[in-house]
Symmetry: C2
Subunit: 195 residues, 2 copies
Amino acid sequence: MRRWFLATALACTVTALAVAILIAASSDEPSDKPHYNKAGELLRPENYREWIFLSSGLGMNYSPAAGSHDMFTNVFVPQWAYQEFLKSGGWPDKTTFVVEERGAQTKGSINKHGNFQTTELMGIGVEVKDSGLPDKWAYFNFDDNKTATANPKNACFSCHEKNAAVEHSFVQFYPTLQPVAKKFGTYREAAEDVQ
Amino acid sequence: MRRWFLATALACTVTALAVAILIAASSDEPSDKPHYNKAGELLRPENYREWIFLSSGLGMNYSPAAGSHDMFTNVFVPQWAYQEFLKSGGWPDKTTFVVEERGAQTKGSINKHGNFQTTELMGIGVEVKDSGLPDKWAYFNFDDNKTATANPKNACFSCHEKNAAVEHSFVQFYPTLQPVAKKFGTYREAAEDVQ
């Protein structure tokens, strides 16, 4: 009887573990991490609209001269990376950030002032934190392309390196993450004062 | 032997089901549905920043007169409701929509033009689709309050009833949902033409 009990208990434990692993594997986490082809190009992240929204801007521009065309910029990170940030105030390795550029329109349907977002997708910019890369952080742009090579280091990289409030990320523009980073002491206050 | 096998198989099946149910119960889905107190007031949705982002606007205004203060408006729906919409082009019963109103700022850190979102949370508006309510759809506002009574029907309700592209929801302003609703034939094209 005792032997039967032990054998059954063992079998059930194995079954329980198998079910738990199957359920975990069915989540979409793996596709939320950066993937590269054999040439080292980043594959375009596909499901980012189901990630966590950090913030959006309209016509944000870091140059003294105004831009010619205002776009909305929506920023997303994967659920798992966001949860890690809430626990530590920092980004885990393999975090992917997507900034989506979308058209802005004033008059349409019942709207008469201000701007709403349109179906015109101008492109996406992608930032990855990946310890397997030469400089750990890298920046990519996608229009209709499915793969992209990293941008030169003197473009996005150097600006993020110099001006971002948390590591290479512009948490000064992500309202709900600011208090988290400040609580964990990972927020560089000086990043707010750059003019 | 055969009896032992059957008993073990049954025990394992029960264990597997129990594990699956425990894992399912640990998700946050239940809190993503509308909850009311005994007085029938809606409880404030708390975790909406972890829901699906539909779109944001800046200074959107439906009146001929411009507003005095431009705010960003971010719209979220629960993951489970979004997944149902993708499969049908319509919203399931118990869907909650949150529109978050946030401050806008131009000069700050390295930004020189346009607008980014600030930590100033002005309030949230909530729309629920709930077959248990007298009119199925109801609208609520939260500042610091934890509970709210539904707004009078001649406010949000009548405008949504008349002008929304899909049921009571302004899918004409949610770029990624427009093609879904059009595919399923649930999109009211006339809602785009209102002036």
